[in-house]
Symmetry: C2
DNA sequence: TAGTGGTCTAGACCACGAC
DNA sequence: TCGTGGTCTAGACCACTAG
C-alpha cells in the first residue's frame, strides 16, 4: 500500500468519529498508537489533520474530543460541502480571443495581445440557477490537453491546491443580461465574487467572476 | 526560554524570508537543522507552519521556496493584515436586555428570557466609516471581568482561536438608519456579514452582523 | 500521583527529480 | 548518483490537570 500510514489512520478515525456524539473524548494518543500499531508521532499527525479540518479539538492536558459538525472547516466559497445536490453547468460562451478587456488583462497580469480563453456558464443545482460564472484563462498557461477538456471542468481545485486562491466579495446589483437567467428581478442586490487562482510562483492563472443567486446559494465559510 | 524551539526558528526564518525575493530557494531541511542546531523534525515543523501561512511553498523532491506575498493566507474577513491603518470604534449602543429578537435567539441558541448583551458600534479607519457592527452575546457566557471590558474590545480573536467562526455573506441594500453613518446613499448595495463565533463545544458564543461600507472596505480572503 | 497533550531527538527508509 | 522533501520510529522530558 502506498498510501501513508497517517492518512490510513486518519480515514479509520473519521469512521470512528462519525459514530460518536459531539464532545465525546477519543482515546489518548498513546492508546491509539497501540491500537493502530504505529508510533505516537504518526498517530499524532493523523489527529492534527483532523483537528485542522474541524473534526476534533484538543484540550491541553485533558484530552482530544469530537467537535460539533458546525465547526467543520470550509475556507472558500468554491469548496463544496457534503450536500448531495447534483451540480451541473450549462456553457453559454466559449471562445479564445486576443483582445481582452483591461480589467482581465490587469487581473491576469498579461498584455493586450495575449490570447485569453473566455468561458461563461450557468451553474445549476437540480435545474435551479445558482450562479453565472465568467472565467478567463491565459491560453499560454494551458496545455492542449487541458484546453480541450476545459468545457468539461467542474471546478478548479486541482489548480487551487497547487497554488493559492484570492476571493474578493463585491456587492452589486444583478447585471441586466444575467437577471433573467438567474430568475431574478432587475435591481436585485447580489454578491459578485472575484476569484483569482494563483500558481505557486504567485503568477495569476485563472480569473473568475461569479454572480451568485442569493435566493439559491448562501455564501458561507467556516474557520 | 519557554517559547518552543520550533516557534523561535519560525520567527528567525520569517526575518530571513523577508529579505529574499519571491521564488528564491531556502536551504534544505537538513542544512537548516544544522544551522539552527535542532533536529530536522523540529525545523520541519517550523517550515510547515510557514507553508500553511503562505510564506513558503514546497516542490516535492526539489526544495522549498519563498512564496509571493499575494499568497499569504487570510481566511476570514475579521483578520487584519499588516496594513498600517489605525482602526477605532465608536460605540452607538450598549445595553443588556432580557428580550431579544427571535433572530438573535435562534443564532445564539437561547431562550426568550436569557439576558443578551447588545453592542452597536461604528468602525473607523482614519476617521472614515468602515462598517457598522451589531454584536450580541449571551450574558451568561461572559465573566464579570469580560463584561466590564466589553466596550474596550477591538476584536474577538481570543474567542475565535479557542473555537470556530462561521461567516455568512448576505447581499442587501444599506439599512436606512445606517446609510448616513456610513456616508452612503440609500438603496446602495452592500454586503452584510453574519458572524457566529462558536466555542469548542459547538455552542454559539457571539453573534455579530457587520454592515460593510463597500466604498472603504474591500472584503477579501486568501487561502 | 498518574495520565494527557506538547515538544524534541537522532536516527532511518522511500520516491522522485536533476544531473 | 546524489540531494530533496515525505514519512516513520522508539524513545525522552516537560507542564499541566484531575483524582
Amino acid at each position: 500500500m502506498s498510501i501513508p500510514i497517517y492518512l490510513q489512520i486518519k480515514e479509520k478515525m473519521i469512521d470512528t468519529i462519525r459514530e460518536l456524539p459531539a464532545n465525546a473524548p477519543i482515546p489518548s494518543e498513546r492508546d491509539l498508537a497501540i491500537q493502530y500499531d504505529a508510533s505516537r508521532m504518526t498517530v499524532r499527525k493523523s489527529i492534527n489533520a483532523l483537528v485542522d479540518e474541524g473534526y476534533l479539538y484538543r484540550d491541553s492536558n485533558k484530552g482530544t474530543f469530537v467537535a460539533d459538525k458546525v465547526l467543520h472547516k470550509k475556507n472558500t466559497t468554491l469548496e463544496k460541502k457534503d450536500d448531495n445536490r447534483k451540480i451541473s453547468y450549462k456553457t453559454i460562451y466559449f471562445d479564445v480571443k486576443a483582445s481582452s478587456s483591461e480589467e482581465v488583462q490587469e487581473r491576469l497580469n498579461i498584455g493586450p495581445e495575449d490570447s485569453v480563453v473566455r468561458m461563461i456558464r450557468l451553474m445549476l443545482s437540480d435545474d435551479r440557477p445558482q450562479a453565472i460564472e465568467e472565467i478567463y484563462i491565459n491560453r499560454l498557461n494551458l496545455s492542449d490537453e487541458e484546453f480541450r477538456n476545459l468545457p468539461k471542468w467542474q471546478d478548479f481545485n486541482a489548480f487551487i491546491s497547487k497554488g493559492g486562491l484570492t476571493q474578493r466579495f463585491v456587492p452589486t446589483l444583478v447585471p441586466m443580461q444575467y437577471a433573467h437567467m438567474l430568475e431574478l428581478k432587475i435591481h436585485e442586490p447580489i454578491i459578485m465574487v472575484e476569484n483569482i487562482v494563483n500558481q505557486k510562483s504567485g503568477k495569476p492563472l485563472i480569473y473568475m467572476k461569479v454572480f451568485n443567486n442569493p435566493k439559491e446559494k448562501v455564501i458561507e465559510i467556516t474557520s
